[in-house]
């Protein structure tokens, strides 16, 4: 009998040797005359376990974690194909608390199926949402999204249904769906994981968006740092086309929808939606003045939905199970689930999808197992390079949009970067200014020049000869940050002061 085993085709697994592993396992099986089929799934999101090799068993999938080519012979000796015990066995993967304690809606399929297979996608509920949407009026699809309470997962947290309503209401012969797959925030990788592990959910979500607002063309703006993602996503798009889910007649609906991937070119600012649209039009990625909103005048001047990958990939489950079901998770105005990504100095880093409201501590200690180094946590940056630095004292802050904002932070795209006690926050603050200087689009002075001034001022603070001098320089920095905050055209210059001033506030002692 041919045994199925699973080895992810995915960036993390690949960065830890998965491709060589596939070759080695296939070769060893051939030598031993054992028939196997290697399924190339996505990652389940437990990055720390990669490469995670799984085999089918009667009770579910059994895992072998952190497998390298050096383990191959001993795995076969242990008869892992039939679930044999091995020092690297982790048992039934679904039973591991790391997975069991998650609430997976958006990522329910990710890592379970051969990533680009339409039939495996369908077997786990794929395209049910689209088929429902086809039978519905545009306004009813949008109502379902409004009911779900879904807010944009790209960072700004704007209600997705309201954005769609605006685009649906605009009169135009051509409208567009644009997926923001620029994922520039450091410490984030949920977009990548879903595009590599369950790309058809993005294809389905964009198609539903097209039906809802009356758009026939979609673009996915993908960052160039993700070359493997591009290959997998393109394969998924091609397969969806062949199966009749994209093209001139989506699923026999008589409606058209098509998708194209466009690559970015290494500019962080192109994640901002108006800059992204400029880039899609083949221009310099400079910020546009708003209004007009992209919803009314977006790509090539046409009404355009710009949504993050996770926002769009969450639409299928909302349509499949209903907006009410989705809104049953989370609390207050933060409804549904959020795929948090734990990174940096962390023992068990990876993607944790969970209803809003768990605390940073639960995420970092219960799921993450503390720091990789074993030293105490000293600082946490949540929400990417424009997010605040929190001290360990704030670990009990609940992760929802409002509560986190109250504590001076923002959830952003859900990245959580952990630092141990060796971190120096003056250095990190300087880096924030440096990053802003490197990535500024150059359109406004407070951002372009202010960031350079900021670096110099932090250097002066650190080099100050006495406390009085230091205080004086800190007040220069504070004024500078206030100017950047109030006079920048977009959040690049406007929010860079957040990590900087949070570092000053919580880690004053590092600035000397």
């Amino acid at each position: 009998m041919t045994r199925r085993l699973y080895i992810p085709r995915e960036t993390t697994a690949s960065s830890l040797g998965a491709e060589a592993l596939v070759t080695a396992i296939a070769a060893e099986a051939a030598t031993r005359k054992i028939k196997i089929e290697i399924v190339r799934n996505g990652s389940r999101g437990a990055c720390f376990m990669e490469p995670l090799v799984e085999v089918d068993s009667n009770d579910g999938r059994l895992g072998y974690s952190q497998i390298s080519i050096d383990d191959v012979a001993s795995l076969f000796d242990a008869d892992f194909i039939n679930g044999g015990k091995h020092p690297k066995s982790v048992g039934l993967v679904d039973e591991l608390t790391w997975f069991k304690n998650q609430e997976r809606l958006t990522f329910a399929r990710c890592g379970l199926i051969s990533a680009t297979s339409v039939s495996e996608y369908e077997q786990l509920g794929g395209f049910v949402g689209l088929k429902k949407a086809i039978a519905m009026q545009s306004a009813d699809i949008i109502q379902e999204v409004l009911t779900s309470g879904l807010r944009g997962r790209g960072g700004a947290g704007f209600p997705t249904g309201i954005k769609w309503q605006t685009v649906a209401g605009a009169e135009a012969e051509q409208k567009y769906i644009v997926c923001n797959a620029d994922e520039g925030d450091s410490g984030t990788y949920s977009d990548r994981l879903i595009m590599e592990g369950d790309p058809l959910s993005l294809v389905e979500g964009m198609t539903i968006a097209g039906l809802a607002v009356g758009a026939t063309m979609g673009y996915i703006y993908l960052r160039s740092e993700y070359p493997l993602t591009r290959i997998i996503l393109q394969e998924a798009i091609d397969n969806a086309k062949t199966a009749g889910y994209l093209g001139n007649d989506v699923c026999g609906s008589g409606k058209a929808f098509d998708l194209e991937i466009r690559m970015g070119a290494g500019a962080y600012i192109c994640g901002e939606e108006t800059s992204l649209l400029e880039s899609l039009e083949g221009k310099r990625g400079q910020i546009r003045f708003k209004p007009p909103l992209p919803a009314l005048k977006g790509l090539f001047g046409k009404p355009t939905v710009v949504n993050n990958v996770i926002s769009l990939a969450t639409i299928p489950v909302i349509m499949e199970k209903g907006g009410k079901h989705y809104a049953g998770f989370g609390r207050g105005r933060s409804l549904g689930t959020m795929p948090f990504q734990i990174g940096g100095n962390i023992k068990f880093g990876g993607l944790v999808e969970k209803a809003f409201g768990l605390t940073l501590r639960q995420l970092i200690e219960d799921f993450g197992g503390g720091t990789y180094s074993g030293k105490p946590v000293r600082a946490i940056q949540v929400g990417g390079p424009l997010g605040a630095y929190f001290p360990a004292e704030l670990l009990d802050t609940p992760l929802d949009y409002e509560d986190f904002a109250k504590a001076g932070g923002m959830l952003g795209h859900g990245g959580v970067v952990v630092f141990d006690e060796t971190v120096n926050l003056a250095k990190m603050a300087r880096f924030s200014m440096e990053f802003c200087a490197v990535e500024s689009c150059g359109k406004c002075t407070p951002c372009r020049i202010g960031s350079v001034r900021g670096m110099e001022t932090i250097d002066k603070i650190v080099a100050a000869k006495d406390e009085k001098d230091r205080e004086a320089q800190i007040s220069v920095l504070t004024d500078l940050c206030e100017t950047m905050e109030s006079a920048s055209l977009c959040a690049m210059g406007g929010l860079t002061p957040v990590p900087v001033m949070s570092a000053v506030k919580h880690f004053r002692g590092d600035f000397q």
Binding site: T11, T12, S14, S15, L16, G17, E19, A20, C47, F48, E50, E183, G184, D185, S186, G187, T188, Y189, D191, S224, E225, Y226, P227, L228, R262, M263, G264, A265, G266, A267, Y268, S279, L280, E281, G282, K283, R284, G285, Q286, F300, Q341, I342, G343, G344, N345, I346, G349, G350, Y372, P385, G415, V417, V418, D420, V423, M428, F431, F435, V438, E439
Partner: protein
């Protein structure tokens, strides 16, 4: 360790460049695709291609220039056999990317945006490779390597060098 086969770039000529980007002629806003195509083909975007691109997209030469220089990805000079990008962003910093970066610069004898003397490696900074749970990360051409230390880098660069010697 994952091996990386060195890329092969074509020698630049205007005729070859025009042919490479012809497919984008009718595509709205495809200038960036065209720039990527040139860089994938020749390893960089040659100055001599600017006027041709302008004609293709109905832009002035200066406008094409402006776009090319805006994006960090586009090089104006030929790269080494491999391009190595070292992640400088926060999660990798939390795992010692600063010291790793120093040791890589020392091992290659060059700074960021430079190519090692032997012409093998071009070194670039990058801000997040989306592999932040397994930091520090580097990328060699299109292959990411996770949890890189200065020791593993030395082994990697030696194996890359020997691959390059085999594939001329």
């Amino acid at each position: 360790m994952q091996s990386v086969t060195p890329r092969k770039f074509a020698d630049f000529s205007l005729a070859a460049a025009s042919e490479a980007v012809e497919e984008f002629r009718a595509q709205p806003g495809a200038l960036i695709n065209a720039l990527h195509k040139l860089q994938d083909t020749f390893g960089y975007v040659d100055e001599a291609a600017m006027t041709m691109l302008g004609k293709l997209f109905n832009l002035s030469r200066a406008e094409v220039h402006g776009v090319t220089s805006f994006y960090h990805d586009f090089r104006r000079t030929p790269p080494g056999r491999y391009t190595i990008k070292v992640c400088q962003a926060e999660a990798c910093q939390a795992m010692g990317s600063e010291a790793l970066t120093d040791s890589i610069k020392e091992a290659l004898g060059c700074d960021f945006h430079e190519t090692s003397k032997d012409g093998l490696f071009t070194l670039e900074p990058v801000y997040c490779l989306g592999n932040c749970a397994c930091s520090p990360n580097i990328m060699v051409d299109e292959q990411v390597f996770a949890r890189v230390s200065s020791d593993t880098f030395k082994k990697l660069s030696a194996s890359l060098a020997s691959n390059a010697a085999e594939v001329k």
